[in-house]
Subunit: 367 residues, 4 copies
């Protein structure tokens, strides 16, 4: 068991989640590497100090630059806004320090490409924070697919629906400007990552992207509210993705359904401890979608609880992610999703935007 | 109360459903016109005789022609294969007899157009059998929309998923050939009709249509298995439709979700007595999707049962349809969906097919 | 195919349901005996005339006595209040006419016993209207149990919950007086019948019965609002029954769960087309409750629709009941539940009442 | 912010849960007192050493006695078998150290009484580990009840159903002997605690308790498999509790339904992030049970995640529990459920056992 000094950039929504995860991952997974909350950086020194006390870091940094360079900071988690991802990652790689970067990989595809180049040049552990795919249920879905349990897949539908901007009367805020903060920048990466994880590479897309509420507080909203993508995977399978920040009533609509020749899988993160599975086997009269409750029989569940059906939550995904990051550092092995995998997500997004210009199908490979 | 002699062409799946409906509609709805099962026609005289006995018709016809011409047959229900719809309808209109024709309106858009022309020339009652939209739940959804309960609609997703051809080992049958018998011909009309009923006219579509299992019993399958359509309604709202006959596990997946600025409606025909409604009102902590069970407070429920939650079924939709047909005849008023409404469905399908050729958005108006 | 003249006493909630059922049962089930709506009787001649027209009876009776005696009335359905059941049934049996009597079997256990005696003396078909157990789903549950699919049963929980008197402000009405109209008289018979049908005879009971809202419109409510029964079946299995007319939010809570050593069955009539089945077989990771949608693979579904998941409704149960009644008449065979089966329900109720006096377990056999 | 040395007795299922909770509670809730994993004790020195390393304790104790007496251990969590609870708690109170003891409070009611006496004599913080009631959803249910949202409560039904001993072929193990390890000793306390928390004190009970599988591996099972309790609360309200370790298919069936004059609450821990609420208000046609997803609007959710619907899990309840324990220590205020509250649970159990002897209702107050 060796300690590992962790530096986290950002102490907001995700910064806190990573701090908590780093506090408990050792006890949960009995990891070889034991993270030590060494340093936190934030938008201001004051807030960094506040985070230090609240989350139990040893020190607060004056800037992310200081944090990255601090010799006791041995691994870095980037949980600051998308615009900052690239510079922080590049600086860390420069010093050969492993990075876990929150999704999306930078604020643009240009950022994403530069970040992949930096990571691969440095040859150190690099990972993107697509946490949802790490629930026991979604890991189990991947396992079922790879074992062919539902036969040949014939259709995939994914979505990521929330409603935090559904009310047209909500005032203008930072989320209303900057492509990286719009639906395509902020929400779509999750279901696209899910699609890639579950189905493999996307061959081509055709998209419709829309800003429904184009004005808030008298100010023009300059990014999109929701979008749909028709797609074909490289396997030939047909797919559809919908993401939205205006889906009134939906709070955590990270959901998918996968049709196969022998079965059907359905999942909705709003009930993250259940995976629905239909199998076209056994007597016709006894067939039906089964609500499988996650338990010790499913990936990464038992360390959280020995009892099936007792349930894991949002924070637990981040703990699993932390475990994977630590393991990658310990073993020196790349862990999915790497920056390159993060770039693949950005490429689908890029192709989708292009298709709204050409009004036709766009090959992802060319992006 | 006056009797009305009914002639039904076809005694299979839908022929029986209409015969049963005509037997009970009077008692259920206390209709002014009381249908009398006068005559049934089928593919052979033998089967027509069998249907006569089973369903209680007074007489069996030797052919649909005989049925249409019989003076005691005052109204006609067409429940035979799509290829036969047009000729029967034209003959009936020639004689000024009202027609309730099963969906889709003929085997092609050419048929559909001819049938609309014949119907409008004759000026008699003409109606297409889109039954699903007639459940108390879906009627209530339409009512909620028209009253603005969920505010301005921002997204519509519809589907029609079944699995009767999901198993690739199923042998070739008549459903595997002829565009009218494929997914686009047979299944897609239902959700398209739902979309039109709930959302109004479709402005443009972009489709992906696929034959997944291209061979059965060594024979080439010449129509499609499933399809997805991105669409924009004339209102500007974004939409998506998926229909499939290979959706393993789905039995009656006539389903839709409608997002609005103030609420959200969801429905799935597999639980046809529930409508899910989210309202963005009241204390945040008490908001959630409500599972509303249909009851006497909803359209056309009470005649079937005084008790809420006691449920209506498939057959009851056909009874509601029969009531509407009788009422149209009695009052001489057109009843939705008329043949023209059926043609609107065919036009969306036509535009979808075209978009698969041009690989771009296609305006429906030009079809 | 032979016609059978039907006389129905009562044209309210259930009288209408039986009239509609008799109108369509022939077409649905291709029955040998074809019911003819011969005569209807009601509380007044005027209402009988109104029902005649609405439901399509040939004639209206001046009294139930006239109806029973009419030579063209060959079989009788009793759908009038509990107080009238006994006299009508006795008169019908006197003339050797078959009777389908709505639940419960008379207004008291004394009535029930007399009715069984009369029925058995006459030796004609006698049947009680416990319709809910006739859904395809509940018939399938019985089949699963008899085939041992869930192993040895270890626990049964049943309920019948509605909320028609949940609001304490609702004014006094006829339902608020007379034991036969209270929860134990009116609602409890359904789940008790379900328990007997699914689990076999009840050995002993221990009950708690309560009038929660003891006054309405200033008048004393003289019957019960809800009740719970602990019970042991003759098989030794433990059970629980709850019934209530004040269960706010529950509309048709005819529900049960049955635990077995190898599986588990759950059902709720509010989603009457689904049966939930858990099987302790196959890989642990793939186990879960399956939502089985009723379809042609289940009892008595196909005559209503060839499509699985398309759903039957309340009215369809009454049609199945009518089929069974006709078949019993045709074949001269007793059909479950006979009056004797109805009496078994009354005996459990009687034992339950007694246990509230003795405050201890009461053997049903002694009642 | 002050550190607090924590000693945990036991490192199994619950010992680990508490160790993880103590690792993260500070970061999650920004607590004033910051727990330090000081010492762990277990059944053997080897296992204590193993737990020390795995969970990150500073030291392993040679015995629980050593742990209790260690001056750096300032607060104690008891997570060892029921038989050990009493001695450990008494030793801790002797030294004036606060105790969080896992449910149930000792192995017998005698133990429970002694533990309450010791705790109250010492006058230090004492708390029992009823974690389930601490989910955001169940806390919210309590809030709704206390605010009268569903009006006057008329019925309560609770259950705790699992299936870890459902298979009769499972071999004999320690759970099969000793009343404290049976269903009444191990499972029933949870729903009884829920009933007390949600509904207030129980006035009287009438129970049926059964050992269904009386032999395993040829050895006699000497404790119970499942049980049901009819009860009346001091408020007069009727209730029912069922608990079982043989409920095939149920994994975490901590569930309850509460009927009120104005609404209805339902909860099932298998979907712990949803609370179902029916309100008898607004238009009849729009009423239905709402599935409320927990979020920042509900108690203790936000510290885990800012996003509604993102979900908490089993481990998070233990973190909330740890926060409450720390707060009690910091403020010197008793925190529900104290040992006395734990004793109230044991008294209901005692009364239930007695009722199976007397076969009649038993007043809880006399226990
Ligand atoms: N994986 C997931 O489920 C989620 C991922 N995210 C991603 O996490 C990242 C952070 O988002 P949130 O935590 O929601 O934002 P937030 O606004 O809650 O927190 C951002 C933090 O970054 C800090 N920060 C801002 N500028 C900085 C700078 N120049 N140097 C150092 N620190 C700076 C702020 O002080 C703040 O602590 C984003 O990339 C976002 O896309 C966000 C939410 C969910
Ligand atoms: N609204 C709905 O939910 C459904 C609508 N349909 C539609 O109903 C129509 C009938 O379909 P099904 O009942 O499923 O088919 P089916 O194969 O069960 O029955 C077809 C009937 O038409 C008769 N028939 C065939 N050729 C004939 C001819 N030349 N003259 C007279 N009768 C002839 C056959 O004898 C048979 O009785 C189709 O247009 C279909 O698209 C079918 C199923 C569901
Ligand atoms: N199986 C089930 O699901 C249900 C069964 N029932 C049972 O059906 C029976 C009827 O109840 P509802 O239809 O709800 O009552 P209702 O009040 O709707 O109708 C009662 C009918 O009986 C007639 N009637 C009253 N006194 C009569 C008399 N002396 N002679 C002839 N007709 C008379 C009335 O005119 C009326 O048409 C009851 O025994 C009730 O328990 C009621 C509802 C549901
Ligand atoms: N709140 C809840 O949800 C649950 C509570 N429990 C309760 O937690 C307690 C522990 O149960 P589990 O963790 O399931 O048991 P376990 O068998 O997993 O762990 C018991 C631990 O106690 C230790 N131990 C045994 N004898 C000891 C002794 N004399 N001195 C020191 N340590 C000793 C063992 O080494 C082991 O680490 C029980 O009282 C049980 O009822 C258990 C499961 C769930």
């Amino acid at each position: 068991m060796t300690e590992l000094g962790i530096g986290i950039v950002g102490g907001g929504y995700m910064g806190k989640a990573h701090a908590v995860a780093m506090s408990s991952v050792g006890a949960v997974f009995n990891t070889k590497l034991r993270p030590r909350l060494e340093m936190v950086a934030a938008g201001s020194v004051e807030s960094a100090q506040r985070y230090r006390k609240a989350f139990g870091f040893a020190r607060a940094a004056e800037s992310w630059q200081q944090l990255v360079q601090d010799p006791k900071v041995e691994a870095i988690v980037i949980a600051s806004p998308q615009e900052t991802h690239r510079a922080i990652a590049e600086a860390a790689f420069e010093l050969g320090k492993p990075v876990l970067c929150e999704k999306p990989l930078g604020a643009s595809i240009k950022d994403a490409r530069a970040m992949v180049a930096a990571a691969e040049k440095a040859g150190v552990v690099n990972m993107v924070g697509f946490n949802y795919i790490r629930t026991p249920a979604s890991q189990f879905a991947r396992q079922l697919l790879s074992e062919g349990t539902i036969g040949d897949v014939t259709y995939f539908r994914g979505e990521m629906t929330e409603d935090f901007l559904a009310d047209p009367a909500l005032p203008f805020n930072w989320r209303c400007e900057g492509l990286a903060n719009g639906n395509m920048g902020d929400l779509a990466p999750h279901p696209i990552n899910a699609a890639l994880a579950l189905m493999g590479p996307v061959a081509r897309v055709m998209a419709d992207i829309e800003t429904v509420h184009s004005e808030r507080s008298g100010q023009a909203v300059t990014n999109d509210d929701h979008s749909q993508l028709m797609l074909r995977f490289e396997s030939g399978v047909m797919g559809h993705l919908y993401s939205s920040r205006i889906a009134t009533g939906r709070k955590m609509g990270y959901a998918y359904e996968i049709h196969g020749t022998k079965g059907h899988i359905r999942f909705d993160q709003e009930d993250q401890n259940a995976l629905w599975l239909y199998l076209a086997e056994g007597p016709e009269a006894q067939r039906g979608f089964r609500k499988i409750l996650t338990g010790p029989a499913h990936p990464d569940f038992e360390p959280f609880c020995q009892g099936p059906g007792h349930g894991t939550g949002y924070q637990d995904q981040i703990i699993i992610e932390a475990r994977d990051f630590l393991q990658a550092i310990e073993t020196g092995t790349a862990v999915w999703p790497t920056f390159r995998d993060g770039l693949a997500v950005s490429e689908v997004i890029e192709a989708a935007w292009e298709s709204t210009v050409t009004n036709s199908w766009v090959d992802v490979a060319t992006h």
